[in-house]
């Protein structure tokens, strides 16, 4: 069973600027972001909205959602059962490569 401490290693992944792990009730479980509490509800709601896209797209489950920013510090959202993971990436990191790394990391925790 993964612990909050395990998730703290997300911050060490190359390309990850900030991360925030939030329970579906908005409780912040693990983070390295000073504004995590302010962002938590947006992460949870985004994750829930993306989860519900399966109702509109013949049951397709999303892998991750990426909100693009002009700065390149895009925000990635992953659904992990009752938890949602928000990642703010470094502008220079490749989003596809980073998402693959994150998915690999999460699978390693399972």
């Amino acid at each position: 069973m993964a612990t909050a401490k395990d998730f703290s290693r997300l911050g060490d992944i190359e390309g990850v600027s900030k991360y925030i792990l939030v329970r579906n009730d908005g409780y912040v479980v693990s983070e390295n972001y000073e504004e995590a509490v302010a962002l938590s509800s947006a992460i949870v709601t985004s994750g829930k909205l993306c989860d519900s896209l399966s109702d509109d797209l013949e049951g397709r489950r999303y892998i991750y959602c990426c909100v693009e920013r002009a700065s390149g510090d895009n925000i990635l959202v992953f659904s992990l059962g009752r938890y949602y993971l928000g990642i703010i990436k470094h502008s220079e990191s490749d989003p596809q490569q980073l998402s693959d790394t994150i998915i690999g990391f999460l699978k390693g925790l399972a």
Binding site: E35, A38, L39, A42, T45, S46, L49, C50, S52, L53, D55, D56, L57, R60, R61, Y62, I63, Y64, C65, C66, V67, E68, R69, A70, S71, D73, I75, E92, P95, Q96, S99
Partner: protein
Amino acid sequence: MEYDSKLADIIASLPEVTGGFLYAPDRGIYSNQTGGVVQDESLQQISLKLTKIVSMMSVHFHDTGGIRVCFRDMILFGTMIQEGHWLFLLHQPSLSPGMIKMTVQMALNIHTEESPEADFSAEPQEATENLQTNDNIMAILLSEESELRLPLENIHSQLAHYIGPVAELVFNDSVEIWASNNTPSLENLPELISMIQGEIDDEDDRNEFLNSLQSKKEE
């Protein structure tokens, strides 16, 4: 609607794009070009959800732009094209975000060029607009995320080797014409090379230029 044809152009120009749609809060789905695969009601829900996500994130981050939702077999991309109006594309995962963004931006730039107001503009203003558009195209094509950046930089540098300082001018003009006649892509690169090699007078130099590009490609 004016954006209908732009959306159709984008879909037609990129085989990996399987469909798209246009949405505005006050009009709902006003162009469904998914080939009937997804119904308007579902697209309406998708649009509401994705625009809400961007809207929420924009409260926290003030530079939000588009959104991409990745599924195993497709990606749903959305970007605001004007106040409140959104363009969404469904495409295969093999298509890079950079290429999608570039194609959409170019389609919107072309729209600016073709706007009715431009027909009545004074000539110097048109020239300025065109220059700005060309600068935009070059900036997009040579951006970090563009898959064309390295091949184009190589063509540029090889051309400079054979025709010297005028290479930049020739290169920029050729790319501009190429981009207006084709969707810029790796597949269409031979057409650009064909145009540019005609600018090298000496036949031996021309052949060397083509050989150098070929050997670089094989690397």
